[in-house]
């Protein structure tokens, strides 16, 4: 059965939470390994699922952008060690001239011999980061960021809308910048070089500001930020709990990673923060002054998709216990082996390509040239 075959199941968009859990599972697997075979497998699985289950909306066209970003990260990750890397012995490929730095910069070395081990190590690290980026990108491609924010609890709704607005800012800025550049050319001014940059900044920012004001007026006249009947005391308490909870969670998360932090600021802080956030969500949810239109439902397919992500995580944990080569040795360089349990787990994560329902057709063809042009600008900006 091919994932694109027409099934009789009704077409619908999967709950965004399910896609995010699935993608987060694969990202966790990627974070726990530098094995290029396993990372490559994750990449393949993610790309296959995206290709078979993404919709035809403009935001679903951005996956290639994330792949390019990943490639860019790998390139950067490999250039840096060539220039500044620590010079461990190994198989030398070539040598770049080294620069002797003055005394105050001791400890930083520039140039020197470049070894295969060094490049391979840098590639593994870069690949890991790239795969994590692609996982996040896949989630963004499979469901629009706005849908994810809509699925957030009521208490976070207003913050969520603010984030959505911020998300549209960058593409809009790109569109304004293009129009300003064209206008400069119409006046016979250079469109490249520093003077062009200086001349374009002001109109671009002015345009962005005007748009922001227009949007704010539109949101206000459509009832955004309306308080209705909910008592002020509950609102304030919920806001305080949210803010305090987030600070505690941030401190706790840092504490858990850094062993030198006092115990109170570690797991206890994390738990207290979590509790405060949960409290805020409950209080916010009680407020009856906001409702949700066609809230996404969590059905069997959602369970399967998110469990697939979880299985991948279990696979990599089991692999670690069994001594699978999650981090293949670079010094000395050896051919990486595929950790079987982890690979099986990742392979399970390909199931959503069949299990998830097909997305409905949104916009098969942009309805006008203008629309195509703006969709293209969005794509470029992404």
């Amino acid at each position: 059965m091919s994932p694109t075959s027409r099934s009789t199941r009704p077409r619908r968009l999967l709950h965004p939470g399910a896609w995010w859990l699935w993608a987060a599972g694969l990202a966790v697997v990627a974070l726990r390994t530098t094995n290029p075979l396993l990372l490559g497998l994750i990449l393949g699985v993610v790309a296959f699922v995206v290709a078979s289950r993404r919709s035809d909306a403009p935001w679903a066209m951005s996956f290639a952008g994330y792949l390019k970003l990943g490639a860019f990260v790998i390139a950067i990750r490999m250039v840096f060690p060539i220039l500044f890397g620590n010079r461990l012995p190994g198989t030398e490929l070539f040598t770049i001239p080294s620069v002797t730095l003055p005394g105050w910069a001791a400890g930083v070395s520039i140039g020197g011999p470049v070894t295969v081990e060094m490049l391979v190590g840098a590639f593994y690290q870069g690949l890991r980061l790239a795969v994590v980026i692609v996982c996040v990108g896949a989630a963004n491609t499979l469901c629009s960021p706005y849908r994810m924010l809509r699925a957030l609890p009521n208490a976070l709704y207003e913050a969520g809308v603010a984030v959505t607005v911020a998300l549209t800012f960058a593409p809009q800025l790109a569109i304004t910048a293009r129009r300003v550049r064209e206008a400069r050319r119409l006046r016979g001014r250079p469109t490249k070089g520093p003077s062009a940059w200086r001349g374009s900044m002001l109109p671009v920012l002015e345009g962005a500001l005007e748009r922001a004001v227009a949007l704010a007026a539109s949101m206000d006249s459509r009832g955004y930020g309306r308080h209705g009947q909910s008592p002020a005391a509950i609102r304030r308490t919920a806001a305080a709990l949210t803010l305090g909870g987030m600070v505690l969670v941030a401190i706790g998360a840092y504490g858990v990673l850094d062993p030198s932090v006092p115990f109170v600021l570690r797991a206890p802080a994390l738990l207290a923060g979590g509790a405060a956030l949960a409290g805020a969500l409950v209080m916010g949810g009680r407020r009856s002054d906001r409702t949700r239109y066609r809230a996404d439902r969590w059905l069997a397919a959602e369970w399967v998709v998110s469990v697939c992500g979880l299985v991948a995580v279990v696979g990599v944990v089991v692999s670690g216990r069994l001594g699978g080569t999650l981090d293949p040795s670079v010094y000395p360089l050896e051919v990486p082996q595929l950790p079987v349990a982890a690979a099986l787990g990742v392979l399970v994560a390909v199931l959503p390509a069949w299990v998830a329902p097909e997305p409905p057709e949104l916009a098969t063809v942009p309805s006008s040239v203008e629309a195509a042009a703006s969709a293209r600008a969005l794509e470029v900006a992404a």
Binding site: P58, W59, S144, Y146, R150, T164, V165, R179, E182, A183, R184, R185, L186, R187, G188, R189, T191, G199, L202, P203, R211, V213, A214, L215, A216, A217, S218, M219, D220, S221, R222, G223, Y224, G225, R226, G228, S288, R290, T291, R292, Y293, R294, A295, P360, E361, L362, A363, V365, P366, S367, S368, V369, E370, A371, A372, A373, A375, R376, L378, E379
Partner: protein, 563 residues
């Protein structure tokens, strides 16, 4: 439903109040049209209805605005969301979500409407505005008319008693504008919603209006009354009313239909004559001399050499073709109107003629050279474009600085741009900020900057958007002068009345292809979409403008008294 009680409003830092002692009532279920020249305070008046003025704009408002029994000085705009729905000039700028259905539901989520009610209302509004096929569409993939209908829908789902719209059709082609206006009249007739609407293109909306509010401008009083009554004396009237005034019809017709019924006699009087071509200055010719007239130099204008040429031009945005196989020659001294739906490829064609875009296939030559391969400095000497938003061309903080920069950009003698500007629209304050100029003055300034380099080809993209009738008349005169100087002028426009006034030749684009290219009169007269009001009233006689009819009537009167 809406009551303005002695409202006087002054913007911060303004010397004179924008609205003075405005006092009127709009009863429930009426469609009320707000008319006035640009900068007269129409938008200010509209935004005062839900309190965005003064809460968002700053400034001081005296008096009171009541909507559905609530006063805007007591409740902020967001608490009025279930009473007043406000749609701004640029619908896309107000979108919060990314899909049609979510955008419609947004206001109800804010109001806390129960989910099942919400679902039902969204379905109702989708049907009411004809949006059901677009429900899952991303907002970015909609055309201008569709976006405008979604913007209306996005406030309508709240079930407001009042709908306020600021120039809902100004950016739309004639067909899309009809679509939006049809939806609005349905709301007024079927749901009893009170609609307050500002529009410059009166010819499109005036026949639907139950009441007209005339905003006179800073310091002038605001008048409210029956459409025919107000328009009999208003400074801004659509061509059909102008024709009615000329012919002395009473009551004054507001729609083409009413005018046609009144025009039977006028048509028979005009039948022996044919109109003179625009700007030749001649009197209408009699039928006998018509054939001679038409054979003379293919119309009345001496057309010069070819200024620009496109051959087999193709362009595309991703998979969508914007221009297909366009062949075009533009000659010195002619005014060409480029018409067609939103997104038919008009702006794309103009961009190619000034070298903003590189042709996908085919060639574009302006003055014998490819504009896209020339440096910007050279292009401005062969072709100049005033974009849709003329303000984009202006970067400086005073008119004087703008003119100086214009001279510098094109290596001209100091003062050249200012001289051009004074010829177009005399007396603009050199210390004024371009943003503070009226729509028409800003267009003139942008046009002056473009014209200073003396390009033989002048292109204008939607120049009449936001212009009132006096400003349009000025523009028509300016364009005529430019053509008389031997420049080729191309304007891409939805404004059929301006095309009728000024164009010699009309080109209609559809889906990126040229579907009609010929003398403006022939192309425009028999098209149901592009015919101007006078042509519709006097069909099958080929008259396009009130000016032509006036000249003909004068001639008839003259010959009548002579014989």
């Amino acid at each position: 439903m809406i009551r303005f009680e002695h409202v006087t409003f002054t913007y911060p830092d303004a010397e004179v109040p924008t609205l003075v002692d405005v006092d009127f009532v709009v009863p429930e279920g009426e469609l009320c049209l707000v008319v006035g020249t640009t900068g007269s305070g129409k938008s200010t008046l509209l935004r005062a209805v839900n309190g965005l003025v003064p809460r968002f704009s700053g400034g001081t408002l005296q008096g009171r605005v009541w909507v559905d029994g609530r006063s805007t000085d007591e409740v902020p705009p967001r608490e009025l969301a279930d009473v007043v729905g406000l749609v701004g000039q640029d619908p896309a700028a107000g979108f919060v979500t990314d899909v049609v259905e979510d955008e419609l539901a947004h206001v109800m989520e804010n109001l806390g409407v129960a989910p099942d009610v919400m679902r039902r209302r969204v379905e109702d509004v989708l049907d009411l505005l004809g949006l059901h096929e677009l429900r899952n569409r991303p907002l970015g993939a909609l055309s201008g008319g569709q976006q405008q209908r979604v913007a209306i829908g996005s406030v309508l789902t709240a079930g407001p008693r009042v709908l306020v719209l600021d120039e809902p059709t100004s950016a739309l082609d004639p067909a899309a504008a009809e679509e939006v206006l049809a939806a609005l009249t349905r709301l007024v007739h079927d749901l009893g919603i009170t609609v307050l609407l500002a529009e410059h293109r009166l010819e499109r909306v005036v026949q639907y209006a139950d009441r007209v509010v005339l905003v006179g401008g800073p310091g002038q009083p605001v008048v409210c009354g029956e459409p025919a009554e107000i328009l009999a004396a208003a400074p801004v009237v659509p061509p059909v009313v102008e024709l009615g005034r000329l012919a002395g019809w009473s009551p004054l017709p507001l729609s083409v239909r009413d005018a046609r019924r009144a025009a039977v006699e006028l048509r028979t009087r005009l039948a022996p004559l044919v109109p003179a071509s625009p700007r030749s200055g001649g009197a209408p010719a009699s039928r006998v001399t018509r054939d001679l007239h038409q054979n003379a130099v293919g119309g009345a204008r001496p057309v010069g050499e070819v200024v620009a040429r496109a051959e087999g031009l193709h362009a595309s945005y991703g998979p969508v073709a914007a221009l297909r196989d366009v062949d075009l020659e533009l000659r010195a001294g002619e005014i060409v109107a480029l018409m067609g739906r939103n997104g038919a490829g008009k702006s794309t064609l103009l961009s190619h003629l000034v070298g903003l875009k590189v042709p996908g296939r085919g060639t574009v030559l302006v003055g014998g050279r490819e504009p896209h391969s020339l440096p910007a400095r050279e292009v401005v000497r062969s072709a100049g474009l005033v974009p849709q938003d003329a303000g984009l061309l202006l970067y400086h903080d005073t008119v004087a600085a703008e003119c100086t920069a214009g001279d510098r950009d094109a290596d001209l003698a100091p003062g050249t741009t200012r001289a051009v500007l004074d010829r177009l629209v005399p007396g603009i304050d050199p210390r004024a900020h371009p943003r503070d100029l009226s729509e028409g003055q800003r267009l003139a300034l942008a046009l002056a900057v473009v014209l200073a380099a003396e390009p033989p080809l002048v292109l204008l993209d939607e120049p009449t958007r936001g212009l009132d009738y006096p400003a349009k008349h000025r523009l028509v005169r300016i364009l005529g002068d430019l053509a008389a100087e031997g420049r080729a002028v191309v304007l891409a426009t939805h404004d059929v009345e301006v095309v009728a006034e000024v164009a010699d030749r009309a080109i209609v684009l559809a889906e990126g292809e040229i579907v009609a290219d010929g003398p403006a009169r022939e192309v425009v007269v028999h098209s149901p979409v592009f015919a101007p009001q006078v042509a519709k009233v006097l069909a099958p006689e080929p008259w396009l403008t009130v000016g032509e009819v006036a000249a003909a009537l004068e001639q008839l009167a003259g010959s009548g008294s002579a014989s």
